[in-house]
Each structure stands twice: as structure tokens, then as C-alpha cells.
Symmetry: C2
Subunit: 364 residues, 2 copies
């Protein structure tokens, strides 16, 4: 891949607020994007998905994955695009047989139950079984035409392991915890393989054109502080240490997001990541005090606030902006993915409110 | 009811470790009980439940509710008994029509959808529609014969409201949050009625013989810090202020437990409660530093640790005891209810480990 921004595949970036904020460099307004911004709340997404067939067919079709990635950017002045894909591509490429049951979420045909299952799995080749993801990254990067940066992502090893061992989504995570507490060596072996897989997967996304990467640790928050460090954080730390941190002559910032991880902010910030994602259960003012200048912060409005009136949404945005306070280092986002039944206009109110109301906090 | 402990209905308490620890009075060993200690992991529970028919029939039969309350005490040297009942008795008594769908959890036939629904509901009479609960309390207190204290309980107003508005269990709580953010006055009206109902319900349990009460705020942790104070904590605070705090000449301690509320410990401790329940996502050593001498702490082993080997269970108990450190003020418990597929013997290992390993921390 070419490394210069005069390459037509990689035109110069027109809006770099998002990348600058992640590095705490001055910006004119707080950048904003929304987790799951390409999704079912948009009628145009539903139309493209219907065209693709099922969800994984949409992920595996680079042109259609690019189309849905760009859809929210046509509606709202978002400051970043995020690769449209699933967090479970890696376990699927490992041969576990991902499928989706209507209303039930993701499932695996062959979940991990014992050490023999872990022994069998290998590290997927990002330009082999996972090439469809890299093709999507290349296509999106090209089609973005430098408007905003492209975010690549992966699930965290612990979060991927929960689905692989539970066989799907879970409420109490009893199977993986049984493995964690009764057969820790087996689980660590699985997590090692996942950490290596995620590292090569994210590095390949960076090679393919991702300008920033994010690791989603959706289920790290179900662990005790000791177990979080042992089974989740140490593997994210390993990944952060193994990532390419520069591409096209520019820093590639890394964001770690552990849902319900507000109690462990300092430990997450100490991994060497550039930013920490916050859900809405933490006060962003306290979070900033706790991490100091170490990292940028991303978040943290309750996604359900998008059900409220425009006035209430603007009020909540104002409260969070005031909580973060003056200066750069804040990427505004929801504290989790946007809900599928949110009126799209309310998402627009939210995005515009962030830009409009944040300018006073960025006066030099 | 008679107020003296010479009453044969209310014999003198033989083991008061639990009540003493909640008041930070010296004890010989750390008291221990388990949330959901009367439950499906015990074969004798399943037998009694089969005899009763469905779950609510078991709750409504004072003799059988007493039987299942006492069952775990026959197996393990637990330091407290807890009333066998459901947290949804109040909404059921309000006329919402509680029922249980196999594998689906609780449901309401007539959920709350608007202000007119809230206007209609009244404050249930604890010795009327809810008399079956008071009968169970009286029966259990008598049959305990003073062995250990009896804990009464209720769901928190916010937690009850989530079930009443969502119509059952929920993952994203979008209906109640829509109400919270779009129609806050309606939700506050509902929460006021629930706070009054819980206060009279718990006071009636105290009159009927409960020697301590606990409020379960299972879903407070899905709120932002601002919304938690507004929609959950202020109503628990109101209840705490309205409770009878003495019975039979002895303090009736109150424990508040917000699952995933570790970030808000100081605020919970400031309500005037005697103890704060901790789930396993917080380090108990940090928790004790944060609340100081203000309250006792209850918790906080991950219930999934009971899947591990006896050695691993004992090791985890030792770590938590060391975390709390010297002196009284700790009631050992799981951080949430015991799982239904835990081997009963492992629960025994846990209870015995707490008593045995805690003695050195209580040397005068």
C-alpha cells in the first residue's frame, strides 16, 4: 500500500477533528460520532440490508458494507466513519460457525467447551478468511474521499471468548466463568490465541486504511477487578503493545472501551492506549480528573436520551460538555450503540448540538 | 404484636453476628448468608416448590414459604434467614397481574404505559392484598426459634418501576428510559407511589417480625450518575427515612444494594442506611476506604466462584476477607444471587470458609 496522501486511494483528510481530539490537539469543536451509527434506525440501512440478504452477507459484501458505512454521513455531519462489520468475525474465521437467530442475537454452531477445542483453533489470516473485512476497509477508505477518518475495530479477547464459550449472548456468563474459575489455563490459552488474532486483524485493518482503531470490551464489566485485569485487561494491553501506531505518516490512535468499566479507568488508561471509551454510568468530569492528561475520553450520553425531545437532548449534551470542560481530548459519543427505534432526526439534533454547544470550550 | 423477647413467638436471638456486624459491633467471626439461599440449587427446594404448584403459590403459602426459607439453614451454618418471597409482590398487589413464563422470567399482564395508568394505581395495604407476605414473616420468625435473625426485603422503587413499565425483564430498558427522559413527571409520580408502598410494606414486615430489612435495587446500575440520584437513590433515601429502625428493643438495620452501583457508594452511604451491599465488580478494600466508618458493607464474591474447586473457593474467600481487613462491619455474601446449577456442597465450603478464615480478623 502507498504511504503518501497524494495516492488517489488515500486522499488528504479534510476533517481531522476526531484524530486531533484523540491526541488532545486543539480543535474548533468537539468531534462526534455514534456507536452503531450505521444501523437499523435508518430506513436506508434496512433497504440495503434487505438487498444483501442476511447480516453476514452484508458484512461480506465490500460495496454494500461501504454503502451502509457512508449512509449516516450523508444525513449527519459526523466526524468519523466506522467500518461496518461484526465483532464476531474472528471466531467465525476460527471455524465456530457464526449464525444469527432472529430476535436471539449471534450464535455459534460449535462453541468452545474444553481444552481440546482450544487446541484445535488457529490464528485467522486477515488477508485469508478475513479478507472480506480488509476489502471493506479498502473500499470505504477510498469512497470516503478524505471527508472524515475511518475507524477500524475488533471485539476484545475476553468479549470474543464469552460468545465462543457461552455459544452466544448470555445473561449470567456462567459457562465462561466456570472455565475461568475451574480451568483457568484453558481460558488463558484461548485468550492468548484471541489476543494474537486481534493484533494481526487490527494491524491488517490499519494497513488496509483504518486511521484509528477501537477495541470493544462489551463484557469486561461482568468481572471482578482482579478477574478483569487477569482475563480481559492484560490481553487488551498486549494488543495495544503490538499495534502499528502510525500509517500514512500520521498517528493511528487506539481507543479501549470496557462497558461497565468505569471503576477501572486508571488501569485501562495505563495500557498505553490513546483514549478510553466511557459508558453513561460515569460522570465524565470525574473521569477526566481520574485519568488526567494520560488519555483522551470518548462518550458518554445514555443512548436512550435520543428518545427525548430536542430540547432535552440539547440539555444533556450541554451537561456532558460542561462536565468535560475546556480544551481538547473529548470525542463525543453515546455510551453504547444507538437503539434501533430512535427517530433519525433526534440523532441529527444530537450531532448538531455537540458541534454548536462545544465551540465555547475550544476558544484559544 | 408483643415487643418483648420472652414472647414465645419471638424467642431470644441465639446468633446475632449478622445484626452486630451491620452495626460494626465486635463479632467472633464474619457473618455470612447468600442472596437467593433458598432456591433451585437445593433439591429439597425443588420438591417443596413442586408441592406448591407455581412460584407465586409457594410465596403465598406461609407454611411452605417458611419451609423453603429454613431449608438452607438446615444444611449450612448461615448467620441469617431471608424471607422467601418475590420482589414483584407490590406491583402484583397494585393490580398489574404478575405471571411467570417458563424460561422468560416475570411478566405483567397490564404494564404501565402512561399517566392514566399511574393515576389508577393505589398504595397496597400490607395487611390486605399483601397479608400473605406478613403471614410468611410471622411464621418464619416463629419457626426460626431465635436461631438467627430474619431479613425482610423489597425491590427499590426504580427496580419495581422497570418491570412495571417494561412489562417484564429487559436488556436495554428503553421503555422506562423513554418515560424517564420524555415524561419524567409521570415516572416521578409512579416512583412516589412506589416509595410510599415500599415504606409501608417494609414497616409491616418489621412489625411482623423482620429483624433487618434490605432493599434490592437490581437495575439502578443502568442509569447515569445524575439519573441514578434522580430516579433511584432519592426514593430509597425517602424509604430509609420513613422506616421503623427499632423493634423488640433492638435496632433494625437497613441494607441498600444497587447492583453495578460501585461508582456511587458514597452517595448510597449518605442516605442514612446501615449497610451497603456490593456486587463483585468492586474491590472491597477500596469500598471500605471510600465509605469509612459510615456504613457496614455486605458482599462481595462473584456467585460463579461457586463453580470452582473447594481450594479455589477458600482462596477467594481469603482474598476478600483480607481486602476488608480487621474488625467488624462486614457481612459476607455473594455479589448477587446464587446460581441455580451450583453444587450445594460448594455453598457449604463457602460458608464454612468464611467462618473459619475470618476469626483472625476479629481478635480483640
Amino acid at each position: 500500500m502507498a504511504d503518501d496522501s497524494t495516492n488517489p486511494q488515500r486522499p488528504e483528510l479534510k476533517n481531522d477533528r476526531y484524530l486531533r481530539a484523540l491526541q488532545k490537539q486543539p480543535v474548533d469543536a468537539t468531534p462526534v460520532w455514534m456507536m452503531r451509527q450505521a444501523g437499523r434506525y435508518l430506513p436506508e440501512y434496512k433497504a440495503t440490508r434487505a438487498q444483501a440478504g442476511d447480516f453476514m452477507s452484508l458484512c461480506k459484501n465490500a460495496e454494500l458494507a461501504c454503502e451502509v458505512t457512508l449512509q449516516p454521513l450523508r444525513r449527519f455531519p459526523l466526524d468519523a466513519a466506522i467500518l461496518f462489520s461484526d465483532i464476531l468475525t474472528i471466531p467465525d474465521a476460527m471455524g465456530l460457525g457464526l449464525y444469527f437467530e432472529t430476535g436471539e442475537g449471534p450464535r455459534f454452531r460449535d462453541p468452545i467447551t474444553c481444552k481440546a477445542d482450544v487446541d484445535k483453533i488457529g490464528i485467522p489470516d486477515p488477508e485469508g478468511e478475513l479478507q472480506y473485512v480488509m476489502n471493506a476497509v479498502r473500499t470505504i477508505r477510498r469512497e470516503l474521499k478524505g471527508e472524515v477518518p475511518l475507524i477500524g475495530f475488533s471485539g476484545s479477547p475476553w468479549t470474543l471468548a464469552t460468545y465462543m464459550v457461552e455459544g452466544g449472548t448470555s445473561k449470567a456468563f456462567t459457562k465462561i466463568k466456570k472455565m475461568a474459575f475451574a480451568e483457568p489455563a484453558t481460558l488463558h490459552q484461548l485468550l492468548e490465541k484471541l489476543a494474537d488474532s486481534v493484533t494481526s486483524y487490527l494491524n491488517a485493518q490499519i494497513d488496509a486504511g483504518a486511521q484509528s482503531v477501537m477495541i470493544f470490551d462489551t463484557w469486561g464489566g461482568v468481572l471482578s477487578p482482579r478477574d478483569y485485569k487477569d482475563f480481559s485487561l492484560q490481553y487488551m494491553h498486549k494488543i495495544v503493545s503490538g499495534l502499528k501506531r502510525e500509517a500514512d505518516g500520521r498517528k493511528v490512535p487506539v481507543t479501549l472501551f470496557t462497558k461497565n468499566g468505569g471503576q477501572w479507568l486508571e488501569a485501562i488508561a495505563a495500557t498505553g492506549c490513546d483514549a478510553v471509551g466511557l459508558d453513561w454510568t460515569i460522570n465524565i468530569e470525574d473521569a477526566r480528573k481520574r485519568v488526567g492528561d494520560k488519555v483522551a475520553l470518548q462518550g458518554n450520553m445514555d443512548p436512550s436520551m435520543l428518545y427525548a425531545s430536542p430540547e432535552r437532548i440539547r440539555q444533556e449534551v450541554a451537561t456532558i460538555l460542561e462536565g468535560y470542560g475546556n480544551g481538547s481530548g473529548h470525542v463525543f459519543n453515546l455510551g453504547h450503540g444507538i437503539h434501533l427505534d430512535v427517530p433519525p432526526d433526534n440523532a441529527g439534533v444530537f450531532v448538531n448540538a455537540v458541534h454548536e454547544l462545544s465551540r465555547p470550550y475550544h476558544k484559544q
